[in-house]
Subunit: 344 residues, 2 copies
DNA sequence: GACAGTTGTGCAACCGCTTGCATTAATTGC
DNA sequence: GCAATTAATGCAAGCGGTTGCACAACTGTC
């Protein structure tokens, strides 16, 4: 069926090992022989079988990339950055989606394990214990999670949440709702922890609503809860939820930001296109994708490194946040910073 | 390093072939032996190496799925549907993004070729000749393209474009612009062909602008061209471009739909969230993903089938289209159909 | 109790490729 | 001019599995 190394060897009148070497160690073969082999290979349409090669070398030149939901606009920029970074090192990325399902995450990692040199686990929902176990079966890099002994790339959402809450309290908000993300999300726990501390320090009450599915619908369905709780400002786990929430608030007759201010997290493309434009915490997704690939390539072999990369987040103030009922701070960031501008 | 079939055989005191059979042909091994082997396998944490198995069986239980741009919201629903359909048949999907680059498409197909049972090529940008050549190296199913001898799933965008143009001419539009998609897109050619015919039949002039990159920016940058051309209505290659165009038109001071009507294609989630909500041609992306997987599984082995699946599209009328300057038809679809409703 | 069937397991070749070692021919040093 | 290198290629084992075939050891039959 497919043309193998044997066909090329036969056509060129050499041993298969010579053909093998023309491709993987050209300097070991006589230039004349090499070009003859290459010519025959070309003519027969021979392509080395990477899977067979991997069996012996242990290197596949593939990297697995697992995300919870490919339809969440947060992921594509990360994926694309990882792909282009991998390509620079002659690797290919295989993406898999797990539908926010921890069980599927495990299954997919195992399916990928022997076909890739390592797996990038982005915003995993499974338990630390399971991740540690899997990391014994295949080199892992986690993104948006911190686990001792496992290389990680984390975006500083804690600081992002702090900045967001400070922005809201400075605007005079005293009852702030936090829309939690999915169960199992490390990011969601970080945000919650940081937001709680910051709210307390700023004299505001934080009302926690969730966990919720990290989608528009997740935000839409809790709009009533937000209004019922009497919150005048909301920090959502991500932009998708924030956008859904705004839809829900508007549908319920509330104005944004006049009645309720809304802050998202991620700064997905979409957040610039909705009305009002969304105030949000920008996360460096592309940088995270690149860093994760680099980290895997660097630490793939050594198990249990503690290599961590921290990436900064930035608050982007747009049109979905405004004055609250309480006294607002003299250094109101809403005045100090241009609309659509960036503050850290 | 990793535990292999030999380790399990040694631990269980049987030959490796018996271990192999406990996994791939359980009925051939004595129940007692089987459970003993399974126990040892479990205890050692043995996982069969799918790549090694594939070498001999020729089946990887993997499917490649190649898209032009994972960040385009058109693709994720298709990908997710394909993944869940594949999972039903115990297959896994590997997604790869090609950045709208035909050369990368070829490279990725070849990289995937031996590691998958077949490749789903969604909206490919490369030439027919190249696709035909690749289909000799690995089973292929193309989506949104028709090539003789290659199994295909096509969405009827021609009919969608016709319905969209009829909608516009019925509203009284006589100068309609068509924003073309990327070079190499079969869909774009189909739309153009169908829109031209329909516009002529409806007594309208069709102004073709493009090719353009199929993104928001692609739409945004041609907003001025649209105004300069004096078009009162626009059919865009996809929703992303339509949304970008609307942004551009609003920025230039034109009102949508009062001054210019805009119709997109795809009905991505986003088109329901922008203001005004987008009138668009809904394409059955999830169905296409499922159909493509089914088709590959059914026809993977036989080369050169002519199996084709056609899927219908539907015009969804929302808020971005309105009356044009000309006489509008008495059976104005804008009156006949409820907002947000669906017509075919 | 000999015979034909079953059933369960082992043997060994093989999938497509890499690689350490042996072999041979050509080149170099003195 | 001969030993010692060096360069180019072949040989064969092996990566982690699968599978056709042979071989026992049972089972049941008459």
């Amino acid at each position: 069926m497919a043309v193998t190394i044997r066909d090329v060897a036969r056509a060129s009148g050499v041993h298969i090992s010579t053909v093998s070497r023309t491709f993987s160690a050209p300097h070991l073969v006589n230039p004349n022989t090499r070009s003859r082999v290459l010519a025959h290979a070309e003519q027969l349409g021979y392509r080395p079988n990477r899977a067979a090669r991997a069996l012996i070398t242990g290197r596949t030149y593939n990297i697995g990339l697992i995300v919870a939901d490919i339809a969440n606009p947060f992921f594509p920029p990360l994926i694309k950055a990882a792909e282009s970074q991998a390509r620079k090192h002659d690797h290919h990325i295989f993406v898999a989606d797990t539908n926010e399902d921890p069980a599927l995450e495990e299954e997919v990692v195992r399916a990928l394990a022997k076909q890739v040199d390592g797996v990038l686990l982005v915003s995993p929902r499974m338990s630390n214990a399971l991740i540690e176990q899997l990391s014994r079966e295949v080199p892992l890099v986690v993104v948006n999670r911190q686990i001792a002994g496992i290389p990680a790339v984390v975006m500083d959402v804690a600081r992002g949440a702090r900045t967001a809450i400070e922005h809201l309290t400075a605007l005079g908000h005293r009852r702030v709702a936090l829309l939690g993300g999915p169960r199992g999300s490390w990011t969601s726990r970080e945000i919650r922890r940081s937001a709680s501390t910051t709210a307390r320090a700023g004299g505001a009450e934080l009302i926690i609503i969730g966990p919720n599915p990290p989608t528009e619908v997740g935000g839409l369905t809790v709009a009533e809860d937000v209004l019922r709780a009497g919150a005048t400002a909301v920090l959502a786990y991500n932009d998708l939820m924030a956008i859904g929430l705004i839809e829900g608030l508007l549908a319920a007759g509330a104005r944004v930001p006049t009645d309720v201010s809304v802050v998202g997290i991620d700064d997905i493309m979409l957040s610039r296109l909705t009305r009002p434009k969304l105030t949000t915490v920008a996360t460096p997704t592309a940088a995270a994708g690149r860093a994760a690939v680099d980290m895997l390539l660097a630490h793939g072999d050594d198990r249990r490194t503690n290599a961590h990369i921290h990436l900064q987040t930035e608050l982007v103030i747009r049109d979905s946040t405004g004055r609250g009922p309480g006294p607002h701070s003299p250094a109101d960031p809403g005045d100090a910073i241009a609309h659509g501008g960036v503050a850290s």
